[in-house]
């Protein structure tokens, strides 16, 4: 290990830890807004109680919410039917219901060919992430994460006053695993979001396996959390789930969610999978009765209806290809997306792009420092929504801002 690295790492022990935050833009925290919080903000900005968000202006087309990487189709009829079929158990605690939370754990375990003790349910994978930060980091054991990445782990560590090291993504907007490796010694937890939200890129199974091996060599006590929230949307054949790796490797576990391809963001169900010795300390901290009995029935039905999820993957790939091409035709570069959203160079601040789109009823993603000056995250809606949205993008990305009709050509981003 080089002197520079050691010098950098030695600062981890320094009181205050302010130096660690050198790579962090202070705005990251201000802007962190979890997906749920941005949904709330959207509601406050004009959304109606319980219904779809209201159109921002009279006479505008209905609003399109492509800001939170949600699945626009939802969970499918089999899941809705299962929820209704479970109504009779809605007054029972999840451990008492005829189809109870243990049944869901067993179903997930069977799907991944692991034992129930290798599975921990979370109220969304967010609870898993939060619990992992709580359980595995401390004032003396830092979190290693990326910038930008899903901010839940980062925000949790900061609230607890645990040090955070953020490594900026590489030139192709992939997690800079080499950079992360230089900071893992003595870390409590390494957060690896694969595919990475918001940059949409993936690393191959081989790269992840190599990374895990090297972390283990440098810092065997460090826990590695591989968040595969967008797993089902990946089409790159070099990618594979890290679940077998987690099962074979101490201190490694995978987080999954029903919020994305299974179309159940509103149901709040995620899970962790890993070796018993890794899952046990997490389970100890996890919240009891965290999954509703309706969520239990919904998730079991979703796993029993893989065709719905596969159709969603196909649909998403088509919409992704269409939207990416439309944006590239406008001169906007997109990262290599393997998820249900795009990370797009819009040639202006995300805030400017966002407010331009919002004025025409299209809600796109929040700021993602350090790229908020040039990039926006655009979630993928339905094909019909994206056809409308791309027309709005064309208008917003026009230098004279459309309505003035300045007669200028469509400018590249």
């Amino acid at each position: 290990m080089s002197v520079t690295r050691r010098g950098f790492l030695s600062r981890l022990g320094a009181p205050g830890g302010a130096a660690l935050d050198a790579t962090v833009d202070g705005r990251l925290i201000a802007a962190r807004g979890l997906e749920a919080e941005s949904a709330e903000a959207w509601q406050q900005a004009g959304g109606r109680r319980g219904g779809p968000p209201a159109a921002p202006r009279e006479g505008q087309p209905p609003s399109i919410r492509i800001s939170s990487n949600e699945n626009p189709i939802g969970p499918g009829q089999a899941v809705l039917d299962a929820i209704v079929a479970q109504f009779g158990e809605a007054g029972r605690y999840p451990f008492n219901a005829k189809v109870g939370d243990r049944k869901l754990v067993e179903t997930i375990a069977a799907l991944h060919k692991v034992k129930p003790e290798n599975v921990l349910l979370g109220a969304g994978s967010q609870e898993i992430l939060k619990t992992a930060v709580w359980g595995f980091t401390s004032p003396a054991r830092h979190l290693v994460t990326a910038s930008p990445t899903f901010e839940n782990a980062t925000g949790t560590a900061r609230r607890m006053g645990h040090p955070v090291v953020e490594i900026k993504v590489d030139s192709q907007f992939r997690l800079d695993l080499e950079g992360m490796l230089t900071t893992v010694r003595g870390a409590g937890l390494v957060f690896v979001n694969n595919p990475n939200n918001p940059t949409a890129t993936v690393h191959s199974a081989k790269t992840i396996t190599d990374f895990v091996e090297r972390v283990r060599r440098i810092s065997p006590d460090t826990v590695i959390l591989i968040d595969e929230a967008y797993h089902e949307y990946v089409t790159d054949p070099a990618y594979e789930t890290a679940i077998p790796l987690a099962m074979a490797t101490p201190n490694v576990f995978v987080a999954r969610t029903f919020s994305k391809a299974y179309g159940m963001a509103g149901m709040r169900i995620g899970y962790a999978i890993g070796g018993g010795d890794t899952i046990k300390p997490l389970a100890r901290l996890g919240m009891p009765y965290n999954i509703s009995v309706l969520g239990v029935a919904a998730a079991i039905a979703a796993l029993g209806d893989p065709k719905h999820m596969e159709a969603e993957r196909t649909r998403n790939t088509e919409v992704r290809n269409f939207t990416q091409k439309a944006l590239e035709d406008l001169g906007c570069k997109c990262t290599a997306s393997q998820a249900n959203f795009l990370f797009v160079e819009v040639g202006r601040t995300a805030a400017e792009f966002r407010s331009g789109c919002a004025a025409q009823g299209v809600q796109v993603g929040r700021d993602f420092p350090p790229f908020e000056g040039s990039h926006a995250r655009i979630s993928l809606g339905t094909m019909a929504e994206m056809q409308k949205a791309t027309a709005v993008f064309r208008d917003v990305l026009r230098p004279a801002n459309g309505t003035g009709g300045g007669g200028r050509e469509e400018a590249p981003c």
Binding site: E40, G50, N71, G74, Q86, G91
Partner: protein, 397 residues
């Protein structure tokens, strides 16, 4: 005074290890007993359709209005569950109106479980103990013990009432008093005047201590001095009230609870919960919560009356056979069955009735029995009679 203080120290500190370990050992959240059931018993319970009187649930579940609201929440294309919830605001608005508070007085939780854990997290530490009765609902004590925060367990007083004097003394220098009223599992209720006096007393003795008043069973109380502590909490950041939709509203499976308090207390709790406070709540529960509240006070009154009828019936059945129960103000009873709870429980289970787990230090003679429907209780007392060798004329009729 000296004697009392000494006693509290014994109960609270000297014996805390022993008490806490039995407390925690038995705490097993509501489900621990059932996870430990042998597979054969589990299989037989499914085969014969057990009457569940073990977890203080509402036997009717959510009302039709609530279930309709859940179906509506699917949205026209059934796509809404695919979205992150945008209904937290609606529930907070409805709740604010219903309670006569503002939104900054409220934080929502994944059941009151989350509220109890958050309060314990925020208000106890390695030097600031949790104080509670023994027995009481174990979530706070279990969580504090897991964190390595000290727990002071105070014995109950006469008639299974909280011993407020001992509690107040034990509260000195503590971080949080868990004040479960009605108290689970013993079902007794402390009147509002006595509670307010207790709060004032704790704050004279220990101005930094927060009191968490758990009103999970509030709607079932039929005591003449029955008032919520919400008005007190709104004025004082050292009082927090926990509530749940799991009991009177029949929504235990939906996981929705809340805390009401002074904005400073709510802010402190939300800070720890931020990122999981609202993100742990499922969208169907949020819509269900709005619909539950919109039923108005008449719904709660009817549910209270329904529960009281089943409670009176069951209390009389035991009393007629010389078995004492505590004065219940909840949807469960604590009954001296004269045999170890485990023996009674296993006997009932073999006949298709599931009653409550062990509650030390009373597990040798007392059992917690949740109240089902009147019809279920009529069937259950027949079983109780058979198990206890006290055949029932009423049940046979």
């Amino acid at each position: 005074m000296l004697t009392r203080r000494k006693f509290v120290e014994t109960v609270g500190i000297g014996a805390a290890g022993a008490l806490t370990s039995s407390w925690i050992g038995a705490r097993g959240r509501e489900d621990a007993t059932w996870n430990a059931l042998s597979p054969s018993l589990e299989a037989s319970s499914q085969a014969m359709s057990v009457i569940p009187l073990s977890s203080n649930e509402n036997p009717f579940g959510p009302s039709a209005a609530v279930l309709d609201a859940i179906k509506k929440a699917f949205g026209p294309e059934g796509a809404t569950p695919g979205r992150y919830s945008n209904a937290t605001g609606a529930l907070r608005d409805t709740l604010s109106k219903s309670l006569g508070v503002t939104s900054e007085n409220l934080t929502l939780g994944c059941g009151s479980t989350q509220i109890l854990r958050t309060a314990t997290h925020v208000y106890t530490s390695r030097t600031k103990a949790l104080v509670g009765t023994i027995p009481t609902y174990e979530e706070c004590a279990g969580y504090a013990a897991m964190l390595g925060h000290p727990v002071r367990a105070v014995s109950l007083g006469r008639d299974f009432q909280m011993d407020l004097e001992r509690m107040a003394t034990a509260a000195k220098g503590s971080g949080l008093v868990f004040y479960c009223n009605p108290n689970n599992p013993v079902a007794t209720y402390t009147g509002a005047t006595a509670t307010r006096d207790f709060i004032a007393r704790v704050h004279r003795i220990s101005p930094e201590t927060t009191i968490l008043v758990d009103e999970a069973y509030f709607e079932y109380v039929t005591h003449p001095d029955h008032q919520s502590m919400i008005p007190v909490a709104l004025e004082d950041p050292r009082i927090v009230v926990a509530r749940t939709f799991s009991k009177a509203y029949g929504m235990a499976g939906l996981r929705l609870g809340y805390a009401v308090g002074h904005p400073d207390a709510i802010r402190k709790m939300s800070e720890w919960d931020s990122g999981s406070g609202t993100s742990s709540l499922n969208v169907l529960a949020l819509h269900a919560g709005v619909a539950a509240l919109e039923q108005g006070p008449a719904f709660v009154e009817a549910e209270r009356a329904r529960n009281k009828a089943a409670r009176d019936f069951t209390t009389k059945w035991f009393a007629d056979r010389g078995m004492k129960s505590t004065e219940s103000h909840a949807n469960f009873m604590f009954v001296n069955v004269g045999v170890p709870a485990k023996q009674f429980r296993d006997g009932c289970m073999a006949k298709g009735v599931r009653v409550g787990r062990d509650f030390p230090p009373f597990e040798n003679a007392w059992c917690r029995i949740s109240l089902g429907t009147m019809d279920e209780m009529k069937r259950a007392v027949t079983v109780f009679g058979e198990v206890l060798g006290k055949p029932s004329a009423i049940a046979a009729a």
